[in-house]
């Protein structure tokens, strides 16, 4: 069983116990635990079910690469599906339930799929369910869909808040292990602005767990002093719980900070998305251990050797009482040694290498651990928990030599550098045959705006496995990055001295044992979550899915929520062997952001609800709201569709407004109409080019209706143009068109006729515009007193500046309704007062405000067009009977 040990646990605080719930059961953990560590401490190895076969799944890893331990977390507005237990910090009151099973985690009906596995090979659904046709929609697909998915669908509205930060710096360092710390320190010493991010809550990465010595002391001390130093520097920003999630073109990077996932409901934003702009990025992203492919390697209790070590050293949790280590490299021996020194039983280290390892193997033997070289695991025994492994010769077909009882298998197939961020923006990789890993090809980096590389990989991520090399490489990376962005060379460049055990070379093992039978291969898992086995990839190859992308898509290898962090390399090695090819010629699938899934909410940030898209408001907006406006969104604005009075319906209101405006008096808020001033000696000539009709011959004081077409000749906008004086015109546009037409005019002036003397200003929001419409329009305005509005002084299609009821205004005698109508423009800050005054004065004339639908009916009844309704991008003026508005000279 897995338990909490009495000592060890460098990351937990035993003085701060906490309780949480898993599948309704109360459990105890410590502050500093991850949920996976807490669960293991409570002997809860079984944490989930796989996707396809619903096989029991235990935790495999201890970090971001975990494919199995996914939880429904929290409840109601704080619910989150598919939360990775290995990257979830345990907090008091945490609520977790396991996923993808019915009726329970221990007994899952869906596990029948596992018994039928031979009938459900990879790609089975392409070959089945073809006949009869209607069955797919009505029977097959509904069943398949029902079994799809992992976590539950959230139901309640998100109760948390989120935010975005913009950050500018010269150098971004991703990863807070010893490489990242050193790179940041070296870059910061050069005086440039540095940001350092680490995805976990803790600095230092694996070095303290692996027993690395830096400058003669345990790595923890150097880590502590280095992060303290960096934190105190004014040119450095450090953030833990912040993942470098993606790298984009021209030095743009995303950092995803989980601010309050571990302290829910404390009023802080849950997540913060950092949009970082920098000049150089150092990715010190470490490496991920690879599983080994042997039969039934998916039984709970089979874990990565490094994870077993992590749980022991970081959380004081032993994954089991008896741990068999199986490996093709020296690093896994560390796990055995740590377990042994913690007083736990290590029945055997099974080393696939014929000669075994080096220094660490000697230490293991000295510690009394049995080491079997040239051996492998034929198969794992047990159902929901490992009970034993059967030993075999690695070179053979898997005949059992001996059964070794155990409850944990700690496996290591070597390490894969985390090259995701390097690759996001086009960085290329090469296959290092000696180390059996893909490494960043420094000659083919992601290209920045200057055509040079802008990403440097440091430490284990670039393939350096020894700590001394890691520090040297990272220090150089930090310096190079700083120098490239103009940093000064620091005087004291002596790097710390790191020491760890010498290691013998690893030997790639892609299948254990090498000659495993079909029976064993069909039980050797590559992708634990999606249930892809060695035999599946081999079948894909057999069927011609030879491209790595084909094989991936056909088998679903690497398409689970871990995006193949554990499975990809083993999968493509399996594919290359099946094709008798080599790994480099197979290549990898494309690494796409984000590195691990990030919350959708963090992408949206604060822009939700009322802030989703700010509403543009006219000066009279609140009046409309108080007078029954039924709103309609129009081009960023909101306009009243109709004003609802008493208990009438919207339709009734519209009818009332139409009849009242035709018979008495209506008032319309026309402030949203675009208003653009065009001024200058060449303004008339310019407007003749913009409009289909002539505007240069318009007389000051007069208005003219104008049409605008795109270069293709299709209608794009219309409106009334007023000539203000010899050199000034005011152009009205549609409500949605103001910005577009303003931009359109600027474009022509700047890019085609840049020698013309014309200035264009968009004054849409500077002016409120009130349409007073209907038979009584003149009466109400004359009652208010001021300028002469008689037909004689202000005839149809004329305008004049003056005063109405004490308000300075510009009155246009124009009509979009066919009724007697004045549009009065006043400075925006006086709009509401003017509106109120007209409404009050109009009471005796039966004034009623009207909305956009009434406007549409009024204009449609008179045959006036509406851009967007009568036009669709293929309509020319002639199509709408508007030939009269096209100048004779332009037809």
């Amino acid at each position: 069983m897995s338990v909490r040990l009495a000592n060890q646990g460098r990351l937990i605080d035993r003085m701060r116990p906490l309780s949480f719930s898993f599948n309704g059961q109360k459990m105890q953990g410590y502050h500093g635990d991850t949920l996976a560590a807490s669960l293991l401490a409570n002997d809860q190895m079984l944490m989930g079910r796989s996707f396809k076969y619903h096989r029991p799944r235990g935790v495999v890893a201890s970090g971001a690469e975990e494919p199995n331990a996914l939880m429904n977390l929290g409840s109601e507005g704080h619910f989150e599906p598919n939360a990775r237990a290995t990257t979830t910090e345990t907090f008091e009151g945490l609520l977790a339930t396991s996923q993808n099973h019915f009726p329970s985690l221990e007994f899952d009906i869906g596990a029948v799929n596992s018994k039928l596995a031979r009938f459900l090979p990879t790609g089975f659904y392409y070959k089945m369910f073809i006949h009869p046709r209607s069955f797919w929609k009505h029977i097959y697909e509904p069943i398949i869909r029902k079994s799809a998915g992992l976590g539950k669908a959230p139901k309640a509205r998100d109760a948390d808040k989120y935010e975005h930060y913009y950050h500018h710096c010269e150098v971004l360092v991703v990863g807070g292990g010893i490489a990242g710390l050193q790179a940041a320190e070296s870059a910061a010493a050069a005086g440039v602005r540095v940001m350092l991010v680490e995805q976990t809550a803790h600095w230092g990465g694996r070095a303290p767990v692996d027993g690395v010595i830096i400058d003669g002391a345990p790595a923890d001390e150097w880590i502590k002093s280095t992060i303290a130093k960096l934190s105190s520097m004014t040119n450095v920003v450090v953030r833990n719980r912040t993942q470098g999630s993606g790298i984009y073109d021209h030095g743009y990077a995303l950092a995803y900070e989980r601010v309050a996932d571990h302290t829910p409901r404390d009023q802080r934003p849950r997540h913060r998305l950092w949009r970082v702009r920098c000049k150089q990025i150092v990715t010190a992203t470490g490496a991920i251990e690879r599983p080994l492919s042997f039969a039934r390697n998916d039984i709970p209790g089979v874990m990565l050797a490094s994870a077993v070590r992590d749980y022991l050293v970081n959380y004081g949790v032993s994954a089991g009482d008896r741990t068999v280590v199986v490996t093709n490299n020296d690093d896994a021996y560390r796990t055995a040694l740590f377990l042994k020194s913690a007083g736990l039983d290590v029945p055997a280290i099974i080393d696939a290498r014929a000669e075994g390892g080096g220094e660490l193997m000697a230490q293991a033997i000295a510690a009394g651990i049995r080491v079997e070289t040239g051996r492998g695991i034929a198969k794992v025994k047990g159902g929901k928990r490992v009970t034993a492994v059967s030993l075999c010769a690695q070179v053979g077909e898997g005949s059992e030599i001996e059964e070794i009882p155990c409850d944990v298998v700690a496996m290591s197939g070597g390490w894969s550098p985390v090259v995701h961020l390097w690759s996001h923006c086009g960085g290329k990789l090469f296959w290092d045959d000696a180390k059996a890993m893909f490494r960043p090809d420094v000659n083919k980096p992601p290209i920045g705006s200057n055509g040079e590389g802008f990403v440097i990989v440091a430490g284990i991520a670039s393939g350096h496995l020894r700590s001394a090399e890691v520090i040297q490489d990272a220090g150089q990376a930090g310096l190079t990055a700083a120098e490239l962005v103009g940093g000064k060379k620091a005087k004291d460049t002596k790097l710390p001295d790191a020491q760890d055990a010498k290691e013998a070379a690893m030997e790639p093992v892609w299948l254990m044992p090498h000659g495993a039978s079909y029976k064993l291969r069909s039980k050797a898992w590559l992708d634990f979550q999606n249930d892809v086995k060695v035999s599946d990839v081999q079948l894909a190859a057999q069927e011609g899915f030879e491209s790595v992308e084909h094989a991936k898509r056909y088998t679903t290898l690497g398409m689970a929520t871990d995006q193949g962090k554990l499975s990809n390399i083993n999968g493509l090695a399996t594919l290359s062997e099946a094709l008798n090819s080599d790994i480099p010629s197979i290549g990898t699938t494309t690494f796409r952001p984000p590195y691990t899934p990030i919350s959708m909410a963090s992408l949206a940030g604060e822009a939700r609800g009322e802030l989703f898209q700010p509403v543009r408001k006219t000066p009279m907006h609140n009046w409309h709201d108080a007078h029954g406006a039924d709103w309609e969104p129009v081009g960023g604005w909101r306009r009243p569709y109709a004003y609802i009075q008493n208990s009438e319906t919207v339709d009734q209101a519209v009818h009332r407004e139409v009849i009242n405006t035709r018979e008495n008096l209506g008032i319309l808020d026309a402030s949203t109409l675009g208003k653009i001033i065009v001024k200058g000696p060449d303004a008339g000539k310019f407007l003749d080019m913009m409009y289909t009709n002539m505007m240069s011959n318009l007389k000051p004081g007069r208005c003219r209706y104008g049409l605008m077409c795109s270069e293709n000749g299709f209608l794009t906008d219309d409106g009334v143009v007023a000539r203000v004086d010899e050199q000034t015109w005011l152009c009205h546009t549609t409500s949605g068109g103001a910005d577009r037409i303003h931009t359109h005019m600027e474009e022509w002036l700047q890019t085609e006729w840049w020698d013309w003397k014309v200035w264009v200003v968009n004054v849409t929001e500077q002016l409120a515009q009130v349409a007073v419409v209907g038979p009584n329009a003149r009466k109400v305005l004359e009652k208010l007193g001021g300028m002469d509005l008689s037909t004689k002084t202000l005839p149809f299609m004329a305008w004049a500046d003056g005063e109405i009821g004490g308000f300075s205004c510009r009155a246009y005698r124009i009509s979009f309704s066919g009724e007697l109508s004045y549009e009065i423009a006043i400075p925006a800050n006086r709009g509401l007062d003017f509106w109120k005054m007209v409404v009050e004065a109009g009471a005796e004339f039966g004034i009623n405000p009207y909305g956009t639908e009434c406007l549409h009916i009024l204009r449609a009844e008179k045959g006036f067009i509406m851009i967007g309704d009568e036009t669709d991008g293929t309509v020319i003026p002639q199509d709408l009977g508007l030939s009269w508005a096209v100048s004779e000279k332009k037809r």
Partner: protein
């Protein structure tokens, strides 16, 4: 996520502060031109995979239109220049020649 230097502001601008305006240096044809000329200028585009000249507007900055010489395959930027010109300035062409010897684009080289 491009960064382009606005030659009017003189500042590096994030793509979100700019709006893209399509192919640059199109020769517009007026009334009386042939259908072919109209079709060519309205619709036919070079659309190269590689060096491209294109129009941008400093939409949320100074509002000015400018041109950029950019590689559509790598997104490398060779330079930006003001829009009031009929062809790329020599300094831009020289930069491109250094980085892409033997280049040509429409009738420029």
């Amino acid at each position: 996520m491009l960064v382009l230097n606005c030659p009017y502001c003189g500042l590096d601008k994030d793509e979100t502060e700019l709006s893209a305006g399509g192919e640059a240096h199109l020769k517009r044809f007026g009334p009386g031109s042939s259908d072919e000329d109209f079709e060519g200028y309205l619709f036919e585009r070079t659309n190269p995979k590689g060096l491209h000249f294109e129009r941008w507007r400093c939409a949320f900055g100074c509002g000015k239109w400018f041109h950029a010489a950019r590689c559509t395959a790598t997104l490398e930027v060779f330079g930006t220049y003001k829009a009031q010109t009929l062809e790329p300035p020599k300094v831009i062409k020289d930069v491109i020649t250094t980085k892409r010897p033997g280049w040509s684009w429409r009738n420029f080289s």
